[in-house]
Amino acid sequence: MSNALPVVDKKFEPKDFKSDLKPIWCPGCGDFGVLQSLYRALAAIGRPAHEIAFVSGIGCSSRIPGYTTAYGFNTVHGRALPIAQGIKIANPSLLVLCAGGDGDGFSIGGGHVAHAVRRNIDLTYIVMDNQIYGLTKGQLSPTSPRGLKTVTSSLGSLEDPVNPLLYVLGYGASFVAQGTAADLPGLAAIIEEGIRFPGFAFINVQSPCVTYGEDEWQIKEQRARMKSLESLGHDPKDQLHAMDLARAYGKELYTGVFYRNPAPSPTYDQLVLERQKEKGASAPDPARVLDSLIQR
């Protein structure tokens, strides 16, 4: 099923991953920063664009694959992860990226996250978290803080936000990080590390919505608040401490790697390849698939 891809011996520049499509995002949207960081990370990784499959759901953020030269798939709301996993299983030699919004990933698509985690399938999932529904014009999101007034919660929301970091750590994810559109080199480094991680890598990115987001969520405010986990002396091998720090989601803006499993489980895609190799050794002829049903 997998076909070995040609090794292209070439140095890549961020601009090699930039497509001709002009982003529809509002000027100043945090998603521009995520895109820039992604170009840089991909250049550093050095895989040619045609070996990359970039899958997203629906939302402002989910437009991102179209702005890259990779094979893009802008799918349906909340379902990027299952589709990305199908791609990876069908062709494990591809570099598979997945991206979307907070609503896409933790509301409608929330049920899929646990399963991508438990398969430790080798793909990188970037959630562009703006605590709001951007595309549909400013409704409450699963990561909106309690009490937030939006067009669908005009009297203030009555529920607590999901904590994406704790959620994914809680499921036992092997790579969990957070970045911000206020620190592009830092974000590029985190994305690169996530892509290099052998397994499911989750990156939450604080990517503010300038149009519907609150003032205190914007780039300038984020820049003032952000604290690198490294500067706190956090050891990314320490899962419990990672969870403790992740509890501060919504209060503190920590950036960097919360948890990186030093001994992750084998990836689902690798196990698929091994099973195919083992079971496929006999190479049966598909034209004889019914032979075993003959009653003798």
Partner: protein, 596 residues
């Protein structure tokens, strides 16, 4: 001598009546008989009542048969629970457990006098000869082999083989129980000779399988190398088969977290260039509809199998119904086209599954294969499919020249444009659920949306001219017509033959392609037709309604429809056909519409 025998048996869960049926149909298949076995259970997870129907024939069989030739009741309450599924008639030989204390003239079957009623001490023979009450089903097999002369040698061998693991004592006991049944039959001959004629073909000439396994095997043949799905009765065997077999062919199965993820992964795998499938039943089908729309607009091949059960909602998970036709044709949001195909037997499930993949690949479209519980889960002994007869189609991929300036959704005469896949240098494009231009770039242009809808529909036009996807049988000039699909078509095929023997001349149209509706095919079929029936298991008469929507249906064509669970019997259709002939003789048959 008989060349066709329909046996219905029922007992409580521990009686092993279904296992006896399986052993019987397998032995008959080994000896070269054709056959069908269906099973039916009460609602308990384990235990409770269970029944099966075994039909053995020297010629091909297309349905589980009508009224029983032989009814076996290990206890009356359980037998009676199956009602219309195990119909007893004036020609039926009824065999029942003597211990029940009921005398032969007092059996609880009302309204009919069976040809013969025999009380057999199954439990007593089992205990005496087999050493345990559990050997009852083996006594039953011996008795059937004795009276009806079917597969005696193979049966005893298979019973022994099945128990070999349990040691020689258990095998010897089972053999004694079996022989006790045979001896009982010899000592108590039936009034009429009901021995089966020997099979026309020799040993080892039949395959034995169910529709779900057949579908899965055909998928492998057709090149399917990815399956994503979520368990749901009565479709799960498709995934179970593939999860054992597909790896050998370099494929993979993903048991997803839900139906959406299952079909989503299949869409992803197809985007990556691998032929993919998902299988489900009604409720799961509802969850998959958004993804079918995505495959439609992204023009990705995808096969979605729906093994229909009684609905709506959880409905009747282990019973057949044909009421998901509207859903298959019309659950699209927007004008998302989707071919809908339906097999009619286990045997033709092979060809229809291969066809589903071929159409999906050829036209880069989702295809829905509508099987049903009966086809999916019944065991059928049939002649092996000649796989050499089937071609396997691959999607149109771009040439190196086309990759120089690749345009994913290029407008072409056929509407089909070459599709690249990740890994192909130069083929990079954006697939999307959002409307796009030829390049694949998102667009908000209404004009472009119109053109793309044209493209997506134009691709499928050749399908309605595929005469091979429609079978016309019977007398082509007859003014009396039947139309039927799926498992019910097999009932109508037999009804047509019975009617012919009784001097009623009719013709039958079986559409394997349900959607898009091939208007011309129906119009041609209706030439000269004055009366007839559209026969299906759905309360609303969905095929009848669908035809009325697209086709000028003659006034004399009525809907013969009812809810599923118990399939139609051939006699039911013959009766209605006879009534329809009255219409031909000028006695205005009232045009009965489906019940609203």
């Amino acid at each position: 001598m008989l060349d066709n025998l329909v046996i219905g048996m029922a007992g409580s869960g521990g009686d092993g009546i279904v296992s006896a049926g399986e052993t019987l149909v397998a032995a008959a298949a080994t000896e070269g008989y054709y056959g069908i076995m269906t099973k039916s259970f009460g609602s308990q997870i384990r235990g409770g009542e269970s029944s099966c129907r075994v039909r053995i024939s020297s010629g091909p069989v297309l349905n589980p048969g009508g009224t029983l030739d032989v009814a076996v009741a290990l206890n009356w309450p359980d037998f009676l629970k199956f009602g219309a599924e195990l119909p007893v008639g004036g020609n039926t030989v009824v065999i029942y457990e003597a211990k029940s204390g009921v005398t032969a003239d007092k059996i609880p079957i009302v309204g009919v006098t069976p040809a013969e009623v025999v009380a057999v001490p199954f439990g007593e023979l089992a205990k005496k000869m087999g050493g345990t009450d559990k050997a009852k089903n083996t006594v039953v097999l011996g008795l059937l082999a004795g009276w009806f002369d079917v597969a005696r040698e193979t049966l005893i061998k298979n019973v022994a083989k099945k128990l070999a693991k349990k040691g020689p004592e258990v095998v010897a006991a089972a053999e004694r129980a079996f022989n006790a049944g045979v001896a009982y039959a010899a000592e108590h001959p039936l009034k009429s000779d009901m021995r089966m004629a020997p099979p026309k073909d020799g040993r080892g000439t039949k395959i034995l399988t169910d529709g779900n396994d057949m579908c899965a095997a055909a998928a492998i043949f057709a090149g399917c190398r990815f399956f994503g799905g979520y368990p749901i009765t009565p479709s799960t065997e498709v995934m179970q088969y593939l999860s054992r077999e597909i790896w050998k062919y370099g494929g993979a199965v993903l048991q997803a977290e839900d139906e959406i993820a299952g079909v989503g992964a299949a869409v992803g795998a197809s985007f990556a260039g691998v032929k993919s499938m998902t299988a489900t039943s009604g409720p799961g089908m509802s969850l998959k509809t958004e993804m079918i729309g995505l495959a439609s607009i992204a023009e990705l091949p995808l096969v979605v199998v729906n093994v229909q059960r009684g609905g709506p909602s959880t409905g009747m998970p282990t019973k057949p119904e044909q009421a998901d036709l509207f859903q298959a044709c019309f659950s699209a949001h927007g004008d998302g086209p989707r071919p809908v195909l339906a097999p009619t037997t286990v045997a033709d499930t092979f060809g229809m599954t291969v066809e589903a993949f071929n159409i999906a690949e050829e036209y880069q479209t989702p295809v829905i294969l509508l099987s049903d519980q009966e086809i999916g889960q019944r065991k059928e002994a049939c002649t092996p499919v000649d796989t050499a007869k089937y071609k396997v189609v691959e999607r149109l991929r771009p040439t190196p020249a086309e990759l120089e300036d690749y345009t994913r959704f290029r407008f072409t005469d056929t509407g089909v444009s070459p599709v690249s896949q990740p890994g192909m240098l130069g083929g990079n494009y954006l697939a999307a659920g959002i409307e796009h231009n030829e390049k694949g770039d998102p667009t908000a242009s209404g004009a472009m949306h119109g053109k793309m809808n044209d493209k997506r529909h134009k691709k499928l036009v050749p399908l309605v001219h595929r005469r091979d996807l429609f079978h016309v049988e019977g007398d082509p000039a007859a003014p009396l017509a039947l139309i039927s699909w799926g498992s019910t078509a097999g009932v109508c095929r037999e009804a047509l033959a019975i009617a012919r023997r009784r001097g009623i001349s009719a013709k039958l149209l079986v559409p394997y392609l349900l959607f898009p509706v091939a208007e011309e095919v129906y119009h041609e079929f209706f030439i000269g037709v004055k009366a007839g029936l559209v026969v299906e298991l759905s309360h609303q008469g969905q095929l009848y309604r669908l035809l009325r929507m697209y086709v000028d249906v003659p006034r004399g064509i009525r809907s013969m429809c009812r809810s599923g669970a118990a399939p139609y019997l051939p006699e039911d259709v013959v009766r209605e056909l006879r009534a329809a002939t009255l219409g031909l003789q000028g006695e205005t048959a009232e045009t009965r519409q489906p019940q609203e």
